[in-house]
Amino acid sequence: MVKTPVPAEENVAPGHMGCPGCGACLALRLALKALGKRTIMTVPACCWAVMPGVFPYCSIKVPVLFTAFETAAASASGVRAALDAKGQKDINVLAWAGDGGTLDIGIQALSGAVERRDEIIYVCYDNEAYMNTGIQRSSSTPIGAWTTTTPVGTTRNFKLEPKKSGVEIMVAHRIPYTATACVSYPEDFVKKLQKARDIRGPKYIQVLCPCPAGWKSDPEKSIQIGRLAVESNVWPLYEVENGVYTVRKPAKKVAVKDYFKTQGRFRHLDEKEIEQIQKLVDHDWETLLRKEENAQKK
């Protein structure tokens, strides 16, 4: 048997309502393996508000408070405050929200909770659009992508703006720990969660979750697509601990176009447009490496 840091413990039961090949489904399964049963979750409107199943059933084996769209962080703060007031220790409070609930409508509450240094682990499972409502653009949708509200049409109205960076916003809050992750790298994600659990204060992890329905990709290839996102530097894996960057360098280099061609949401892009995005990706990668370098110099 292969030795893995991923615990065998299962805290998500199989009877959920996720789509085939859903990255977000795998993400929660891994997260609750990493954090274990002593965890209370807050879940706002997102795919995971539906996926656990219909009342009175719930496929998540830890307590879950379903909350309003913009309140994952504030609700987590409330749970933590109550646990503190009741003297209940050693319980992880996990806010579990999608990219729209985190980087659009929920960013104010998230900013507040992180600034207050509330003892929570916030995970944004990032499938790069409002997938639960049917693939509408979010600020986390990458440049170039088709969504139902950036439908390309005859005016080339795809998403023209670069993806908002959740992790950099968290760095600007001087958060003790923040990281990117991807479900295609389960050991890395689990290690980051366990590291986050053992650090005091707020923690933020943004985990990329391929979404076959929204990315127009083959459900069988979700893991492979996630790997291509990392290897192409479109979604670099890195962590920032008290301002110090550590970047994982991919073993092999993949062109952005090879990542894009696995997904229908990019198929309208011509060579020139892809070339422009490649330049942006290269520039962001260089910037990230410089940030890592700067921190080491100190």
Partner: protein, 395 residues
């Protein structure tokens, strides 16, 4: 028991402290600020053992309170006007989640134009959120009602949130001698909050997950309706217990003053009631049979009490410090609605008064009673009247 000279805001803070609120999540807004400052002082001095979450908005304040209550903590927050409006989504959430959050709202006008003065539009427009809402007349009532609210809200057969209100400045900033109950007295009255169902790692459950139309959503809503109906008796019972301990009570859902033999009655909610009582005493001295019915609870609505009043009163004037555009004052429409089932109904007129903090003076109230007597003899002049309205001269 000790008497202190305090204003409505401090009274609210004392209420939260004496109730031993465990989690406070609050955001400042004029004229509520003194409440959250005073609670912060209580927590900082160690007088109050609570976690204080300094949230970045009222919306997050309510979210944090709902979450904390779901863990089983007693929660408190306070707000006003725009802050209450920002909470609106989560007010529905709190009742849907059956979390007995207790809040104080300082009744303040809604912008634009900016106005920080008394107006009840903010709380009245939360009518359908599933919150019990109580309107205080005095600083003492404010303190006592906060404590009583916890007992009503947290009753296992109720489990609904409640807020009590105080009119901006007229109550929030007016100092009155207030009896501060002893902690032991309150502890004996209000047991610790210990809900049967809560977020518990040893008994994990999903709170508030999806429900399909053919399943339980409708039934869960019906349970809220039933609990709200039960709350009428609960409020009366809790107030009776409080009276036995303190000697103080405030008239249940509808606080009536000299209505037994009254011919004309004004209905009002909030601080203006004190002015009205004074006018009543003077008019009574002149032989006029006038009375007051103060709406102490708007939700649950005192339907039976209003009907009982309507059976023996000829003319009722309903004062509204709020307005439902396109219809009338909210208290007016609800009072009329309650009276509709009576065979012989009194005549009802709507007086829209004190909007945006305009003073409701004794002179104004006197005018209203004169009007009601005129209606009694000559019939209804007009159904709705904006009182003391300035009309710019047309030139």
């Amino acid at each position: 028991m000790a008497k202190k000279l305090i204003n409505g805001n401090y009274a609210a803070a004392y209420g939260a402290k004496l109730a031993r609120a465990e989690v406070i999540a609050a955001y400042p807004i004029t004229p509520q600020t003194a409440i959250v400052e005073q609670v912060a002082d209580f927590v900082s001095s160690g007088e109050m053992k609570a976690r204080y979450v300094t949230v970045e908005s009222e919306h997050s304040a309510m979210a944090a309170c709902i979450a904390a209550a779901s863990v089983g903590a007693r929660t408190f927050t306070a707000t006003s006007s725009q802050g209450l409006l920002l909470m609106h989504e989560l007010l529905h959430w709190a009742s849907g989640a059956r979390t007995p959050v207790v809040m104080v709202n300082v009744n303040r006008a809604v912008a634009p134009p900016w106005s920080v003065w008394a107006d009840q539009t903010d709380s009245v427009s939360q009518r359908d959120t599933g919150w019990m809402q109580f309107y205080s007349e005095s600083t003492q009532e404010e303190l006592d009602t906060v404590i009583m609210s916890y007992k009503v809200s947290e009753s296992p057969d109720i489990m609904l949130p409640s807020f009590t209100t105080e009119d901006a400045f007229f109550l929030s900033h007016t100092y009155e001698p207030v009896e501060i109950p002893a902690q032991e007295l309150v502890d004996g009255f209000l047991p610790p909050f210990n809900p049967e169902i809560k977020l518990d790692i040893d008994n994990p459950r999903g709170f508030g997950s999806l429900s399909m139309p053919h399943q339980w959503y409708m039934e869960l809503r019906y349970l809220i309706a039933e609990a709200m109906d039960r709350s009428r008796q609960k409020i009366l019972k809790v107030e009776k217990e409080w009276k036995e301990l303190t000697g103080r009570s405030y008239g249940g859902l509808l606080d009536e003053y000299r209505t037994e033999d009254a011919e004309v009655v004004l209905v009002n909610a909030g601080s203006a009631a004190s002015t009205i009582r004074e006018v009543i005493d003077r008019l009574r001295a002149q032989g006029k049979k006038v009375g007051l019915a103060r709406l102490r609870s708007f939700r649950p609505f005192p339907t039976e009490e209003i009907r009982a009043l309507g059976r023996h009163v000829h003319t009722i004037g309903v004062m509204d410090r709020c307005y439902t555009f396109g219809d009338g004052g909210a208290f007016f429409t609800e009072v009329k609605s309650a009276l509709y089932q009576l065979k012989d109904r009194p005549t009802v007129k709507n007086f829209v008064v004190g909007i945006g903090g305009r003073d409701i003076t004794m002179k104004t109230v006197g005018k209203l009673y004169d009007n009601l007597y005129k209606i009694k003899s000559d019939g209804l002049d007009e159904e709705k009247e904006w009182v003391d309205l300035k009309r710019p001269e047309v030139g």
